[in-house]
Amino acid sequence: MLYPVLFLLLLSVVGFYLNKNKSVYLSKNQKLASLPAYYGYLAFLYIFVPAIIIWLGLLIGKSFILQNYLILTLGDSLSIMNSDEINLFMSKVKNLSLGISFGNETDLEKFAAEKIISFDKIFSLLTYLVLTLSSILAFLIARKKVIPNFKSQRTVEKIVNRFIQICSLIAILITLGIFLSLVFETLNFFSYVNPLHFLFGLNWSPNKAFVIDSAETIDKDILRDAFGIIPLLGGTLLIAFLAMIVAIPLGLMSAIYLAEYAPKKIRDFSKPVIEILAGIPTVVYGFFAALVVAPKIVMLGKSMGFEVSSESALAAGLVMGVMIIPFVSSLSDDVINAVPQSLRDGSYALGATKSETIIKVILPSALPGIIGSFLLAISRAIGETMIVVMAASLQANLTINPLEPATTITTQIVTALTGDTEFDNPKTLVAFALGLTLFFITLFLNYFALKIVKKYREIYD
């Protein structure tokens, strides 16, 4: 797949040297407007840039061309299929052409697979031909530019600048991509389920959609009750809340102690060690929550006479809280350190003790920043996936009792999309609607958090 790129690179490098050598030769007699190397770079860019765009175009267009080619050659046999059948047929044939056989292929499929193989050969030959032609053409143009008063450096730099400008747009493209992919599939989902039922429904049981699927009739009345996001939102918030109960006091107090009280040695040791918690992959926390913490909580509950589920919100929440401690503490630490020393001095000069200064002067003036950091932490907790996938329940349960099982938005996204994923089923598509909801919630939280933090910074900067 990558050979054409290497081939192009080779051609471009050859072009570079040909042009450079010519300009070195020219520069012996007269001064050129730019260094010889820039005439070389010019050839390189002229050859490489258009050709790589052509290549990408061919790559994207290939499956489309292939499909039409097959429909043309097999016209009659395919015309009786509907679009789903064609898709199935295509994927089967493609697998067959790659040598993946399940032994149950029809003659038609085998014939089509052979067609694909020969098509592939011709297509790749054509690709090389097109790339070579475009390279030669581009080189001839670049060759014409090797004249003393052509400022090749300017041109090269313009191309480079345009390129890096495009690179900087990638952040926008990614956001756009996220948005489009989520919205597109969400709309698809809403063609099965009324958005109102999704947003305000109190029942979550997507497996009902499974039943419908097998019956091949879509009964909107059943779907109406299957995809209510409220219980998921409830579970998500419950677990995030539990996490905050752990993370906020511990994170904030650690930050205060380390910023205001701790001797340098303890600070230098504790800060990086606590930050280890932030570097541990979430799958490790998930493992820990599911296999160590949850059983302990069940045991503890039993000894105290409580009925605790082995997939309780408590286990996931507690462990998630631990994960978020360094997040809260380092953000709060920044905020506390940003409070000017003069405020502290003023308070001490009035005879206040350290804790009084912290509680009555530093914290109130750092409050917006601290609240901002809490909001960021909450958004992190809401979007966290692995811990809840591994430790929380799959069963939707609208409850505020942390000892009962609860499920979250992220857990349900993962459940919906692992295993068989067919994109004509509300059970799968709902993941994108959930994702969109999650995207908006976190965006909203971050927007506010950053706004608050920014405002706070402006006061002291």
């Binding site: 520069s27 050129l32 260094l35 010889p36 400022k151």
Partner: protein, 252 residues
């Protein structure tokens, strides 16, 4: 007497603020001209117009005519890179690149394509370092970082770096303000030697330095050119009362 640079009615604006008011001033070839005046008087701004270093500042706008060898340097057909090849600059704080001494000096010749032969480049570097009076001190450690030198040596390296591209004019923006007296005196001697081959324009806040090294002096105040002339004249019997006040230390 030939003018290396002529300027006519130069105005410089930073946004709405005018920093230079209608200055016309000529610089003689192979002479040292000192620009003096209290800080904020626009002497550095004016200096930076001569090699278009002000182009970097987005809000800065230059009006008027500045010509080098009868070519208007703000006209579009002049490439700013070629201009700076002809007009070198040494800055207030020595700013060698964090590369080897050799690469510091060779950088300019390389980007301007002076040569691609190693021995010719060695020659260019050695000549420039010799002219900057640094060669003897560093000839055995050309691969050391330029930043590892002492302050005075760094500044001479920067001068060598500027010389290496064979400029006609060297602009110096308070080249000694970050140096100790001994390093300063070495640089001052160097300036006197260099004027044989280059036109030098030096901005300085030290009047003694201006008196010691320059042939011509121009006194700037609040963006205006107050007075210009032979250094001896400016420092002994200036025409303008403000100049007199400044050089006798009444303000500044």
């Amino acid at each position: 007497m030939v003018n290396a640079i002529t300027t006519e009615n130069v105005n410089v604006f930073y946004g709405d603020k005018q920093a230079i008011n209608n200055i016309s001033l000529n610089f003689l070839k192979n002479k040292v001209t000192a620009l003096i005046g209290p800080s904020g008087c626009g002497k550095s701004t004016f200096l930076r117009c001569l090699n278009r270093m002000n182009d970097v500042i987005e809000i800065c706008r230059v009006e008027g005519k500045i010509s080098i060898n009868d070519q208007d340097i703000y006209k579009d057909q002049i490439e700013v890179e070629q201009l700076r090849e002809k007009v070198g600059m040494v800055f207030q704080k020595p700013n060698p690149f964090p590369k080897s001494i050799y690469d510091n000096v060779a950088y300019g010749p390389r980007i301007h394509g002076f040569t691609d032969k190693k021995n010719e480049m060695d020659e260019i570097v050695a000549t420039a370092l010799k002219k900057a009076g640094l060669f003897e001190e560093v000839k055995n450690r050309l691969d050391d970082l330029g930043t590892s030198l002492s302050g005075g040596q760094q500044q001479r390296l920067c001068i060598a770096r500027a010389i290496a591209v064979k400029p006609e004019v060297i602009l110096m923006d308070e080249p000694c303000s970050a140096l100790d007296p001994i390093a300063t005196s070495i640089i001052e001697e160097l300036i006197t030697e260099l004027k044989e081959s280059y036109t030098i324009i030096i901005v300085t806040h030290s009047m003694q330095q201006a008196a010691r090294v320059s042939d011509k002096t121009a006194f700037f105040h609040l963006g205006n050119l107050i007075e210009e002339g032979d250094t001896t004249k400016i420092f002994t019997k200036p025409d303008n009362q403000k100049t007199n006040d400044y050089i006798t230390g009444r303000f500044g």
